[in-house]
């Protein structure tokens, strides 16, 4: 079957920066694909090429077998971009109606509003919406054309925990209708929860392309976590065979391929251990192992998870 969207040996250079260095990717009907990677890895550039918002420096991008700029191809897609604006003063319902007119076979406006959870805000002006509601409006504008293929570029950025969870549910429902969805995220849990296929991009290359389970299994490592009542610093854990270490307020989380060795050494050093847990690595740790780098979010030592996010907007 012909892929819905594909990149063939796609390179993209912005001036001296090589954003994509030969990406091959074919996405088929009904797939839900998460593009995962740190900031600047090339996720958004990949999506821009698929959408025709950018042209590959070399290689090819195809959308429904056509050039991505083709209006027929675009008429079958919906898009939620990271940064985009709306005309001031128009109400939610008016904007949805406006965007519906762009598509040959749109869904009823009421359905788009219901799917986005914006029924009560239908008569509110877009510039008076909260941050979370505004994301939902962009989502409504993305789906109102009844797209076969939906692009979501960092759909939950800037949402608080509750809105994020609700919004992920909304997207999952849409995916369950058999739509093809391509989303970018640097929240690994998001990819794990929504996608059946994860494409990990780092420094302009695809470094892994598999199911979340397979990606996790590529990492033999174990997550060791425990509480430590005594003050503990990194020096006390010097020399242990760790791949990753996180110390926060008496809670220790570490990633290692030799959990038995680590525990034996810690007992030997007399480190007090409570609530010990040894588990298989999750997607986040798989990511660390794959990219050989710390957090995808912003390069600080602790890997941030959605729960730890500040409430923004």
């Amino acid at each position: 079957m012909e892929p819905v969207v594909e990149l063939v040996r796609a390179h993209k250079r912005y001036g001296s920066v090589e954003a994509l260095r030969g990406v091959d990717l074919a996405i088929h009907r009904g797939e839900v694909v998460a593009m995962l990677g740190p900031n600047g890895a090339g996720k958004t550039t990949s999506i821009n090429l698929m959408l025709g918002l950018r042209r590959p420096t070399s290689g090819q991008a195809r959308l429904f077998g056509r050039d991505p700029g083709d209006r027929q191809a675009r008429s079958r897609c919906g898009v939620m971009l990271q940064e985009s604006g709306l005309p001031m003063g128009l109400r939610v319902r008016e904007l949805v109606d406006l965007f519906r007119a762009y598509y040959p076979d749109p869904m009823p406006a009421g359905r788009a509003l219901a799917l986005a959870g914006l029924e009560e805000q239908a008569r509110v002006q877009a510039n008076k919406l909260s941050g979370g509601q505004l994301r939902r409006l962009y989502y409504a504008l993305a789906i109102c054309g009844d797209p076969e293929l939906l692009f979501l570029d960092e759909p939950t950025v800037g949402l608080d925990v509750e809105s994020r969870r609700a919004f992920l549910g909304t997207i999952a429902d849409f995916a369950a209708e058999g739509r093809t969805i391509v989303l970018t995220t640097h929240y690994l849990e998001e990819a794990d929860e929504l996608a059946e296929r994860v494409v990990v991009i780092d420094r302009g290359r695809v470094i892994a392309d598999a199911s979340p389970g397979e990606i996790k299994s590529q990492v033999a490592g174990k997550r060791v976590s425990f509480d430590c009542p005594q003050p503990l610093d990194e020096a006390a854990l010097q020399g242990l065979p760790l791949r990753h270490l996180e110390l926060r307020a008496g809670k220790v989380r570490m990633l290692t391929n030799q959990p038995e060795e680590v525990l034996r050494e810690m007992f030997r050093r007399g480190i007090e251990i409570r609530n010990l847990e040894v588990t298989g690595a999750d997607l986040e740790e798989a990511f660390l192992a794959l990219t050989g780098r710390h957090t995808p979010a912003n390069g600080v030592q602790t890997a941030r998870r959605p729960e730890a996010e500040e409430v923004v907007g």
Binding site: L51, L53, R54, R55, R71, Q72, R74, S75, R76, V79, L81, E83, S84, G85, L86, P87, M88, G89, L90, E94, D97, L98, F99, R100, A101, Y102, Y103, P104, D105, Q125, L141, G145, D146, E148, A176, E177, G178, R179
Partner: protein, 267 residues
């Protein structure tokens, strides 16, 4: 749910153009309706200036059946239309670029020209509204009396002659940033309008300004409009030719700047 998606074979490959255009025009008019601050000056200032100059000094006769009041009405009409083209449509493009509206539209199947067309229709609506207010005041208080064909001809001159200034507005809107665009528009458009005799009779300006004025689009626009009352300083064909030339140049610049912006963002 899967069935709904597959049974729904697409009837058409793309949306009907008429529906897109109608929706986009409606959106533009709604935008103006909800944001009167964006056009209130274009609407009020020409009427205000007309009331000030036209009513105070307008009763002097310049030809049979024509008083100065007629001329000032025509000049303020030119000012109204051209400032809407430069400030509303032109700077509107800079705002749309700055807020990323162009990116979002670019990702939809809407052809880019439809959005511009809707902007022009919106500007036309504002122009007609502004001219209507001006004409009503001129008739009611300024003693202006014209037959229907003359009103029609004046309107046609005001609208067609303004096209080069649409080019100017778009060039500014595609070339300058959101912050720079209004300043640049004021810097170019206001001195040009003054020097072109749009506000004060060209005869009262210093010689060197008049020498420059003969090359400016706003001068020929003003002359084209004044020609309606037989007081133009040049023949109609001359005004038309100058305006056509300026139109070609300014639209060429606008198209060039538009392409550069597109390449920067979407290449």
């Amino acid at each position: 749910m899967n069935a709904t998606l597959t049974s729904q074979r697409r009837r058409a490959e793309v949306a009907p153009l008429g529906r897109m255009v109608a929706a986009q025009v409606r959106g533009t008019l709604l935008f103006y309706w909800r944001n009167p601050a964006f056009f209130v000056f274009s609407l009020v200032l020409p009427v205000f200036f007309y009331s000030f100059f036209g009513l105070a000094f307008g009763q002097q006769r310049v030809a049979r059946n024509v008083t100065v009041s007629y001329l000032i009405m025509a000049q303020m009409g030119a000012y109204a239309v051209s400032s809407i083209l430069v400030f509303n449509i032109g700077i509107g493009q800079a705002n749309r670029r700055a807020t990323g509206q162009d990116r979002l539209l670019r990702a939809t199947p809407l052809p880019a020209w439809v959005a511009l067309f809707a902007d022009v229709v919106g500007g036309l609506a504002l122009s007609l509204l502004s001219l209507l207010a001006l004409f009503v005041v001129a008739v009611a208080a300024g003693g202006v009396r014209l037959g229907l064909p003359e009103w029609g001809s004046l309107l046609l001159r005001l609208l067609l002659g303004s096209l080069p200034l649409l080019g100017l507005g778009l060039a500014i809107g595609y070339g300058a940033s959101q912050n720079a665009a209004p300043a640049l528009a004021n810097l170019i458009y206001l001195p040009m309008s003054f020097a072109s005799g749009m506000f004060i009779p060209i005869q009262t300006l210093p010689d060197f300004v008049r020498a420059i004025a003969h090359y400016l689009p706003a001068y020929h626009y003003t002359q084209l409009v004044l020609g309606q009352f037989g007081v133009s300083q040049e023949a109609l064909w001359r005004s038309a030719l100058w305006l056509a030339g300026w139109g070609i140049v300014l639209f060429a610049v606008a198209i060039r700047l538009y392409r550069l912006d597109q390449i920067r963002k979407f290449a």
